[in-house]
Symmetry: C2
Subunit: 373 residues, 2 copies
């Protein structure tokens, strides 16, 4: 993986005047094009898109995705599900092995009772037992998808084990809605085609294992942005991608979004030029995070100053190293920074500035900000 951000040099976005930095700027024209592009590519393959809203945590952006052709929404935890349900979204999948103990049991039950179409992930029999106990006596069964691991090595069982869990879940009164996998190893520099092939093969094997056990797997769901189109084949009939909507420096470097697919920017002001060889902007670790894959240099990219390196972050300071002879922004200048990873960055802000062609068209809340469980 090479740092495509440095070589492709996307044009800096048009930033509105009078921004109160640091702030998030989201270009809605780019967002809409991204939403339509992936929905169209998957529709052409006969595969449904269920976007992951952990990227943007915004009810309005989730609605925009549904209007652009998505069929349902993915969330990462019960908190995001509650926010999206309150926003009127009625088809939600929690792509997470929810452990329904303590306060989460009642929260899960309430979601299952009120959301028209609701499902959660499971990757263990004890987890299934907790889910069943949480919804005991409910008017409708809780639907579950069994998670399998395509080689990402995070959560999910081997395909053969998926049938054991599904059988146990069915005997506990849960509804078996299918199987899912996350090819997250595509982000670690593993080639996306290989990770997608892993997803397709693992999910196919899991669906076959369920059939051999006398069960159906109506939903066969893969998902990550790098593998989104590549995994839309075989038995896979649903894709859960998230970051495709906003783009970020990591996806650009992986070739998973084009330069004109970058919708999210952090606007920052140069506040100090006191130390030679660098400038300091007012976006630090509490605006950009320290998320940095090994293949990226620095904590973000300044397209207007492509040789500058965002070397070091403290809470409210971003130290931008300026190599000799390179152009540098002056004190007071507002610069656009392409963040390394969109998802945790958005989660730091209560709202974002929505723009079209450099003009502010609204300030939209990050509705599910801070909902991590």
């Amino acid at each position: 993986v090479t740092d495509a951000a440095a070589t492709l040099r996307p044009n800096p976005p048009l930033l509105p005047a009078e921004l109160d930095t640091p702030c998030l700027v989201v270009d809605l024209d780019v967002v809409e094009a991204n939403a339509r592009r992936l929905a169209g590519e998957l529709d052409a393959r006969g595969v449904r898109l269920r976007p992951h809203t952990k990227t943007h945590k915004s009810i309005r952006l989730a609605q925009l995705q549904l209007e652009a052709g998505a069929s349902g929404i993915t969330v990462g935890n019960l908190g995001e599900a509650e926010v999206m349900a309150a926003g009127g979204i009625d088809d939600l999948f929690v792509a997470y092995p929810v452990w329904a103990a303590g306060p989460k049991a009642a929260r899960l039950r309430a979601l299952n009772d009120t959301v028209r179409r609701f499902a959660v992930g499971v990757d263990s029999i004890p987890g299934a037992e907790r889910l069943a106990a949480a919804v005991a006596g409910s008017s409708r069964p809780l639907r579950v998808l069994v998670e399998v691991d395509p080689g990402n090595g995070r959560t999910g069982v081997a395909p053969g084990r998926a049938a054991d869990i599904a059988l146990a879940a069915r005997s506990l009164g849960l509804g078996i809605a299918g199987v899912f996998a996350h090819g997250g190893h595509a982000y670690a520099g593993r080639d996306a085609a290989g990770a997608a092939a892993d997803e397709v093969a693992t999910l196919g094997a899991a669906a076959a294992a369920l059939r051999r056990a006398g069960l159906e797997a109506p939903i066969v769901s893969a998902g990550s942005t790098p593998t989104a189109v590549l995994a839309a084949r075989g038995e896979v009939n649903e894709i859960r991608a998230g970051t495709y909507l906003l783009g970020d420096r990591q996806l650009l470097a992986l070739g998973a979004v084009p330069p004109d697919g970058l919708a999210l920017w952090v606007a920052a002001t140069v506040v100090s030029t006191a130390v030679p060889g660098q400038v300091v902007v007012d976006a630090g670790a509490k605006s950009l995070t320290k998320d940095r894959p090994e293949y990226l240099d620095g904590h973000g990219f300044l397209p207007a100053y492509p040789d500058a390196i965002l070397d070091r972050l403290s809470d409210y300071h971003g130290v931008v190293r300026i190599p000799p002879e390179a152009a540098a922004p002056g004190i007071g200048e507002v610069v656009a920074i392409l963040p390394n990873h969109a998802c945790p960055v958005v989660d730091l802000f209560d709202s974002f500035v929505a723009v079209r062609a450099g003009k502010i068209v609204g300030v939209w809340p990050v509705d599910a900000r801070g909902r991590s469980g």
Copy 2:
């Protein structure tokens, strides 16, 4: 620097039952002891303590610090100042080179008009010009402290240059309240005694430069937790420390807090044991951040399982590697995690669970969460 967390093995805190994980747990008994300890040590040296509230962003914890002997509060930006002022705290220093353009000019003016004792940092003449323009016509002059760089290499000028900026600021109608420095290089593994000596020497030289220019420097302010006591000498008459109140794994490793000074924990639940050799907890990068100094292994420390390594974080998953033969938490178990760096972790949560001796005594808001500018 060695990873003291692994060798000192602090006892896991008593966690209350029925936590809705992931969540922040703050032990108020430890907080109070930490607040009193540093205030007492500085009082014995005749030096004032002005704690930095960027660590906790809590009005109640700031009030607790004032009750324990602090004289005024430090904040990192205008947003934190607004929150603390709304909470009734009337002596605030913004330890940041505020660039008072656009919406920030009016915000700065309002703070200067309403906060009884208010000051901001400055490290450039253009910055001073903006500050003066923002408060033009105000009923009282804006007080500024000139920032000098003690070798941290972030913001702040050389001591000789401080006098030029102070003279320019005075001619612009600003009030010269003193000089300040941040010995942040103590966090990078530089020995704290050396960083403190740098702060004392640089601030002394800056105060002398101001005197030679016919100006006074009533406040001579140093600050970081590792250098807090060490820099309380020479002309230094104020210390701005923040993280001392809560502690974290980084400070423990640096020897800057003792094991019984750790007040902040992230509580997480084991949600998956599907992949051999590891367990997965529900605290990921959106609960722990990816802040990790080079001298720490992993993204947090589990005192109950000291051989476990929190290897890899995605948004809502923390992958905990369990070496062969090592003890591991079981599925559904709630574990306490000592975060690497308190400040950005607290900023991810809207509230924290306040405990004493393992019993919940309240849920307190992180009032200034997300206020980064």
